[in-house]
């Protein structure tokens, strides 16, 4: 071939987009553009058990807003003729025919040998269960008068679905009211420990040096203390003449003040890592004050982790309150929590004769499990960028 002659070559004249390899499918685009919180939500949704637990807890917390409406009886209403009555069963069939739900009345017989009250079903007395009905009057949140209940006993009958206690109070209603205190103890307590943990952990992680070692030593000392005895000692120190509400806040404060160590540790280690990142240096160089650097640049980065670990420590508070109240060192009546209810089942007699008095433990177990599963899911979702 002659020198200088052009080599024949072929160029396709079909339209060509040089960026084709970089274009994203709509899904990918959605994924890459999603905010951190949105990605966490996607990841969290995959964890079925955690979603279920979250919904359950949401239901529980919504329920405590309207305890008065949900409970068939009031917290303190007594029924002198029904002391230690066993749970009344709901029946649907009578003489083989389907009916609206009803319960049979009780016939009381005092066994003079054992001095035990024996209740037998009186199949001739039929009390239909009413729904969305006017029952005992109450004051919603202590403010608004009302008497609407989700279920109530028939006008002349009773409805003790979970039995009654030694004063003839309906156990189910008391459990529903008790949820109010038991569930808020965990939240208020975690609020306190969240605040303390965030501040102390933040200081330790941000300043390091002697502040860090001081906080570290403090954490180590608090952690080497067995929790329950310390709780007992502190709640024994609460003045006897405090009002029940005061005791409630005292107890939550005690629970929270001893629980922050785990959170503080998590905050500290996250801060230590994030402090070295470029964006932090940039913020500091641009003259941001420490409070702004911490609040604006550092906290949003590890908030998800902290929320997850806080969720995981709520159960220990709920169990702690239950244990303290059970020992008589925690909340006192008339404040009613699940722990206070369980004090009724303190001896073998209760287990043997009135096992339904132990039922308040069921919601305790459910709530503790739910918080554990929810926390597990949140922890997995907290770091959505990890594979």
């Amino acid at each position: 071939m002659e020198q200088g002659a052009r080599l024949p070559h072929y160029v396709s004249d079909a339209p060509f987009d040089p960026y084709s390899i970089e274009t994203l499918t709509p899904e990918q685009e959605r994924f890459f553009l999603a905010s951190q919180w949105r990605m966490m939500w996607w990841r969290f949704k995959r964890h079925r058990l955690a979603v279920g637990a979250g919904l359950l807890l949401l239901g529980f917390y919504l329920a405590i807003v309207v305890s008065e409406f949900l409970a068939p009886y009031n917290l303190h209403s007594r029924h002198n003729r029904y002391i230690y009555a066993p749970p009344q069963q709901i029946h649907l069939y009578r003489n083989g025919k389907l009916q609206r739900p009803f319960v049979y009345g009780y016939r009381l017989h005092l066994n003079l040998d054992t001095m035990k009250r024996e209740y037998t079903e009186n199949t001739r007395k039929i009390f239909p269960v009413r729904f969305l009905c006017a029952g005992e009057g109450y004051r919603l949140w202590g403010l608004f008068k009302g008497n609407l209940h989700l279920v109530c006993p028939s006008r002349r009958g009773t409805l003790f679905l979970l039995g009654t206690d030694r004063l003839g109070r309906d156990v189910l209603s008391r459990i529903i009211y008790g949820a109010r205190i038991s569930l808020t103890v965990g939240l208020v307590g975690i609020g306190v420990s969240f605040l303390v943990g965030l501040i102390l952990g933040g200081l330790a992680g941000y300043y390091s040096g002697w502040v860090d070692s001081l906080v570290q030593r403090l954490i180590e000392i608090l952690r080497s203390f067995p929790e329950l005895p310390l709780w007992m000692a502190l709640s024994a120190a609460l003045p006897v003449d405090w009002s029940p509400i005061g005791v409630f806040f005292g107890i939550t404060l005690i629970l929270g003040l001893l629980d922050w160590t785990g959170l503080a540790r998590a905050v500290r280690s996250k801060l230590l890592a994030l402090r070295e990142e470029d964006f932090t240096t940039a913020a500091i160089l641009m003259g941001a004050r420490p409070s702004r650097v911490i609040a604006r640049h550092l906290i949003p980065n590890f908030m998800s982790h902290i929320i997850a670990s806080a969720t995981l420590s709520i159960p220990s508070m709920i169990l702690g309150e239950t244990a303290l109240s059970f020992l008589g060192l925690g909340l006192r009546p008339p404040i009613t929590s699940w722990g206070v209810l369980l004090t009724e089942a303190q001896n073998m007699n209760a287990v043997a004769l009135y096992p339904w008095l132990m039922l308040p433990v069921v919601p305790v177990i459910i709530v503790v499990l739910a918080f554990n599963f929810l926390g597990d899911g949140l922890r997995d979702a907290a770091d959505p960028y990890k594979a």
Binding site: S224, L228, P229, A233, P239, L327, A345, M348
Partner: protein
């Protein structure tokens, strides 16, 4: 190793001092002291107490001195093995507590051994059979143990054991051994009674241990050296036990530290329900009646047990893992 040991001991001493100060402050927190509550009680019963007698008692118990001096007296006494004086029992604390401290120790120790013995095989099983029915089921049971309040479990077990065996299993030994010196028969009786509290307290810690061992072992099993071992035809049992398990064991040892406070807490409340002659029931009572030195000594003993337990776990960890002792004072 020796350097590390010395370092850990030196860290332990100030920790114990701070704890003793904290304990003392907490014990002093309630208003008044044992005498004021005692005197109001006596006056309520219509008894008259002369001012001289009050002053005498106050001086006798050392309650007239400033708190700092009381504290110093208490700490120095403890260093000599003298735990102070119990107002309520009118006896030195040493005599009141008897073998309670020792039994508390026995109970905590057996509970930890139990927790390990249960969670170790279950953890291995769960990790090697990930997502199987067995894994899910065992994990769920573990969680259930975590979520059930200890005291209630204790009551229910107590009841069923009573129904099944017909004997009372409350307490920690048969009544006839109560004030007897330690003997083999007494030891056997203690063992026969020990299992209920041990199971009850153990359940709450087991779930955590299982999950941790499972997670660690799963991490190890994914690593390449395990794949290599399998590829080279190492029998599965050996390929599991020889290396991955050893690596996964570290946190297991390190966990004594976090397990101990939990076990001691659990023991306190379960002892009250089962009326075990350990520190728990007496501690609650002493706290309520403001028996300063008795309560203080109990709290101090429990904290001491925990600190020593953490020390032992740190030392064991350092023996297992050279990286930890070379890093000097840094823990975890």
């Amino acid at each position: 190793m020796l350097r590390y040991l010395v370092h850990r001991i030196l860290v332990m001493i100030p920790t114990l001092f701070v704890i003793s100060a904290l304990v003392f402050i907490i014990i002093q927190l309630p208003e008044g002291d044992y005498l004021t509550s005692r005197i109001t009680e006596l006056q309520a019963q219509g008894e008259k107490i002369s001012h001289e007698k009050i002053a005498f008692l106050r001086q006798q118990y050392g309650l007239d001195k400033p708190p700092l001096q009381q504290y110093a007296h208490w700490v120095i006494g403890m260093l000599h093995g003298d735990l102070g004086y119990s107002f309520e029992y009118n006896l030195p604390v040493n005599e009141v507590v008897g073998d309670r401290l020792f039994l508390s120790f026995v109970l905590s120790f057996s509970t930890i051994v139990f927790t390990w013995a249960v969670s170790f095989p279950i953890g291995i099983y769960s990790a090697t059979h990930q997502y199987s029915w067995g894994d899910h089921g065992l994990t769920f049971i573990g969680f259930l143990g975590l979520a059930t309040p200890n005291f209630l479990l204790a009551l229910v077990l107590l009841y069923f054991a009573n129904v099944a065996f017909g004997t009372s299993i409350g307490g920690l030994m048969d009544p006839q051994y109560l004030d007897q010196p330690m003997s083999w028969a007494k030891f056997g009786s203690v063992l026969a009674h020990l299992w209920i509290p041990v199971i009850v307290i153990g359940t709450s810690g087991t779930a955590g241990m299982i999950r941790r061992l499972r997670a660690n072992l799963l991490d190890e099993l994914e690593k390449q050296y395990v794949v290599t071992a399998h590829a080279k035809g190492l029998p599965p049992g050996r390929a599991l036990l020889k290396y991955p398990l050893r690596m996964a064991l570290n946190p297991f040892i390190a966990d004594i530290g976090s397990l101990l406070p939990q076990v001691i807490s659990g023991a306190a409340i379960v002892s009250i329900v089962l009326s075990l002659p350990t520190t728990g029931p007496m501690l609650v009572h002493a706290l309520q009646s403001q028996d300063t030195f008795l309560a203080g000594s109990f709290l101090m003993f429990l904290a001491f047990l925990t600190v020593v337990g953490m020390f032992v776990s740190d030392i064991a960890l350092a023996m297992l893992d050279p990286r930890i002792r070379l890093a000097g004072g840094i823990r975890r």
